[in-house]
Symmetry: C2
Amino acid sequence: MQKAFTVAPKQIACSNCSLREFCLSADFTQAELLQLETVTSIKRAYRRGDYLYHSGAKFTSLYAIRSGFFKTQVLHENGREQVTGFQMAGEIIGLDAISTDTHTCDAVALEDSEVCELPFDQLEELSRKLPALQRHLHKIMSSEIVRDQGIMLLLGSMRAEERLAAFLLNLSQRFAARGYSAIAFKLRMTRQEIGSYLGLKLETVSRTLSYFQESDLVEVHGKSIELLDMSRLLGLVGQQRSTQF
Amino acid sequence: MQKAFTVAPKQIACSNCSLREFCLSADFTQAELLQLETVTSIKRAYRRGDYLYHSGAKFTSLYAIRSGFFKTQVLHENGREQVTGFQMAGEIIGLDAISTDTHTCDAVALEDSEVCELPFDQLEELSRKLPALQRHLHKIMSSEIVRDQGIMLLLGSMRAEERLAAFLLNLSQRFAARGYSAIAFKLRMTRQEIGSYLGLKLETVSRTLSYFQESDLVEVHGKSIELLDMSRLLGLVGQQRSTQF
DNA sequence: CGGGGACTTGATACTGTTCAATTTCCGTGG
DNA sequence: CCACGGAAATTGAACAGTATCAAGTCCCCG
């Protein structure tokens, strides 16, 4: 974890940090990529615990995470709280705010992070000129909908063990996609945050991790985790309730 | 419930059924509305039980519901099933399919219904010319994300009673917004479908409804329901777990 | 090095599920 | 129009899974 940031959210001039990385995974011609560069972006650094935005704040931009780790959470008026996602490098935050021009959740850095601000007006304007960008934006929003539906399935029909296995495998897959180890990584969030995300209490998360360790499925040391038996973990997620049918 | 449809999904010529209703809630100039008309749309009728599309099918269009009632569901490979939403007139179905060009859920008519097909290519093309349409499309997708997050909160942190109260109040609100009674309506779905949506078993749904009835919160007769005490229902949803804090 | 939050673990309580037996409702065919 | 049959819904009793409460340990950050 880098310690380079001495002051919280400061602006950094960044000429080659633009929409370009927003579109990394899409197919663009060289000419189009040059146009993407024309949209100026602001890169910001955040320290652990900093808020990228608060619920209720006016919406102006989406944010592309360049490095680091965030969580998003909704705070119900009655103190109820739900972590709605954990986001890492290359992912986009803030899509929920488009609907009402107001952020509907908080985004909090779980480690020192850098994000690229993408002014939404400019994004819309440019995507009117570049069909590939337009399509890419639509796909990103749609992916978020699909992801949410996956979590609904998890919350609606899985047991604690299945939820946690699914969670670990999801993290593993995303780390792997970024060139990090798929089998050993550090959890950036607390047991309570994991629990909130998975609809479990922190004690249940802790107990289930301990059980996984006893079963030689994983090796846990605090926030460090190693997946010892991917296929059995996968089996857990695939498993339907033993008593069903 | 109308019985006019003797054959399943048939096409109906419909010159004034276009993108226009897709945009009912947005602000468009008269000139823009005329342009919206130029996108030809196909109106189709579906009978109860008909599939609007299946999971895995190629994505070509979004669908605007003109009348009737649908459910969307994801079927996990292992037989696990989750109802991800109930949609009624004026709502848009199919947004999840944009991300992969393939439908990721089934959409099933819960009563005889009419939908308007919106070819997505044309929608994108036109939205490049009409910023208001572009913005509207983005808002619709974002709203779906916000809705999903609300369900995550419900599934992740509410008790059975709270979930059911929230569900009934949500239906009430949506019926009211369409000019129907907010306090008396007919449930179009089975207890099992409600349960799947709310992450509960059908027996729990049934029991909780019975308990609501004993408590004079609602009056239930099969699929007909009447909300007798809105404020207490609202209180249930707002309530945090009695033992928390 | 000290302090406090994070985590683990145990005992108990409780919510919701499972299994099972009826009853009710509704669409279909006679 | 009524009778029939199967799906949907209700209800009860036992059980399972997770939450809750509590105590103690670990570890990280300042």
